[in-house]
């Protein structure tokens, strides 16, 4: 296998000078430049790497040496089922990714290695579990250097977005616009002076800003880099300092991660006033039967909330991607999936405004739909259509055609009629537009792409449908 170097479109990453990554249908191929081959092989054949692989902390690798051309080494990794990006994670997922990065770096330091870059983009979630995927990020460390050159990147891309989220309310989704994270100056300007000297903000924000004043105006090579590069210590002391730096960062990241918060929708499942126990049981039983009969291997739960039905699907052996725009609900679902060991990937997103593709030439990270289309055996659309229809003003025919693209076979829909109190809340007086909608309107829109297999009315007026996708 060789790399077609004349096809730059095939590359999905290209920033790391030691290699590039291409993604194919079933695997990811990482091509390593000849001059970095030996170091990569030493790392991959080390006991450190094999212990991480056994634990599942890093992606598995198959090594193919002796490739022709400038990329002499090829590493093949299995594809993670559904890649997610940091701007789609809840704060707890950010913390888990940061802690994994620091843990691996700490163990690497002990074994004579170090991380040369430290960004959340090195991590993917396999179900609820973070996995380190960018193996070329590990390099041999200078045993006498007590400086971690990637520390600033860790602070910019992991710590400061969490600090900004906690102290300034900046959404973590805004990291979509900043590949290399937040500069301390960005936060400093937005903080009141009293907050700038708060101990939790003094170290990651205020002191770096004060120290960098002056050096940023110079056009000469960064003096701080020169000074830091010149620092050398006895190896045991240098290692001790690095462990200390990593432990300090771990503490700072934990302080920055916000406590579990409530939101408008996070308590939805606990306060279902519009469902009687009979309604809830009927809905649960219907979906349990569908899962039992159809046995989907992959499920997309759109508007998953805290994941009652995602967990039901996962318990039936499905691999689930749970999507909801409510950060607090997704955070609860992620915690539950970790605690109960369910194969669920919760992501923050809105199906009506899906995550776009970003980066160089809009091709460095895939959009939500690029990743989701045709990937799932079954899609759940439970009590969501009225939100997409009324709040996002998407016509029923468009909702149906998107569902057709997302599912390979099954679609489970919970239809909420306009008489339902939740529908009424969303309408806010726009009865003339939506008040006359009937089950038949929904049925007509979905009938072009699906055939109804089951219909199950609930006592509260809502109706559950199992649709099967029509063949082309």
């Amino acid at each position: 296998m060789s790399l077609e170097a004349d096809k730059p479109d095939a590359f999905s990453t290209f920033r790391d000078p030691s290699g590039i990554l291409t993604v194919s249908e079933n695997s990811c191929l990482r091509f390593v430049r000849r001059e970095y081959e030996q170091e990569a092989l030493d790392f991959l054949r080390s006991s450190l790497y094999s212990s991480w692989e056994k634990r599942g902390d890093v992606v598995a690798t198959e090594i193919r040496t002796g490739q022709p051309g400038p990329f002499s080494l090829c590493l093949e990794h299995p594809r993670i089922f559904f890649p997610s990006y940091p701007w789609e994670w809840s704060p707890a997922q950010w913390l888990a990714a940061a802690e994994l990065t620091l843990k691996l770096c700490d163990e690497a330091v002990t074994a004579g290695w170090i991380l040369k870059d430290a960004t959340p983009l090195n991590i993917l979630f396999d179900g609820p579990r973070p996995v380190f995927v960018d193996l070329l990020s590990f390099a041999r460390r200078n045993p006498r250097s007590p400086i971690w050159m990637a520390q600033a990147q860790f602070v910019r891309t992991f710590l400061l977005p969490l600090v900004a989220h906690r102290w300034l309310g900046w959404p973590l989704a805004s990291t979509l616009l900043r590949r290399d994270g937040n500069e301390p100056e960005d936060l400093y300007q937005s903080l009141a002076w009293i907050r700038r000297v708060h101990p939790r903000l003094l170290w990651p924000v205020t002191l770096p800003v004060w120290l960098s004043k002056g050096s940023t105006k110079s056009v000469a090579p960064n003096p701080a880099t020169k000074k830091a590069d010149a620092i050398e210590r006895e190896p045991a002391v240098a290692g001790g300092v690095l462990h200390h730096t990593l432990a300090t960062l771990r503490r700072q990241v934990r302080y920055a991660a916000p406590a579990l918060a409530d939101s408008r929708w996070s308590g939805y499942q606990d306060h279902l006033d519009h469902y009687s126990s009979r309604d809830s049981e009927g809905k649960y039983q219907f979906i349990a039967n569908v899962l039992l009969q159809q046995k989907p291997r992959t499920v997309l739960d759109i508007g998953a909330n805290t994941g009652t039905y995602s967990m039901l699907a996962a318990r039936n052996g499905a691999r689930v991607v749970a999507l909801d725009s409510d950060v607090a609900a997704i955070e609860r679902l992620w915690r539950a999936a970790v605690t109960e060991h369910h194969n669920i990937l919760p992501i923050v997103g809105n199906i009506a405004r899906p995550t776009p593709s970003v980066g160089w030439e809009n091709a460095e990270s895939l959009s939500l739909l690029d990743r989701a289309v045709g990937k799932f055996d079954m899609v759940f659309l439970l009590a969501v259509i009225h939100h997409i229809l009324v709040s996002e003003q998407i016509p029923l025919s468009r909702i149906a055609s998107l569902c057709r693209r997302l599912t390979r076979c099954w679609l489970v829909v919970e239809w909420v009629p306009p008489t339902d109190p939740m529908f009424q809340q969303l309408m806010r007086g726009r009865d003339a537009l939506y008040g006359s909608l009937q089950e038949q309107d929904m049925f007509g829109a979905f009938n072009c792409h699906f055939e109804a297999v089951e219909r199950h009315p609930l006592p509260n007026g809502r109706i559950l449908f199992l649709f099967k996708r029509k063949n082309d």
Partner: protein, 76 residues
Amino acid sequence: MQPLVRVLIIEKQLFAVWMYVDPGSGLLLLQAIGSVVASASIIFRRKIYSLFRRSNRRTIIASDDVPASSESQSKE
């Protein structure tokens, strides 16, 4: 090619790998200052520890000496 030149080229390549990540300025300086403080504390702790270890060893040697000398005294 002279070995020194080769080493310089390799060092330059390795440096290129390291420096593709922006090391920051204030954050790096802060880390450098922190590393000096942490190094000093590690060296200080080691000195204290070795001091205790040395005095401990002296005590052990001394306690080993006592029976030996008393034994030799008794033999005399």
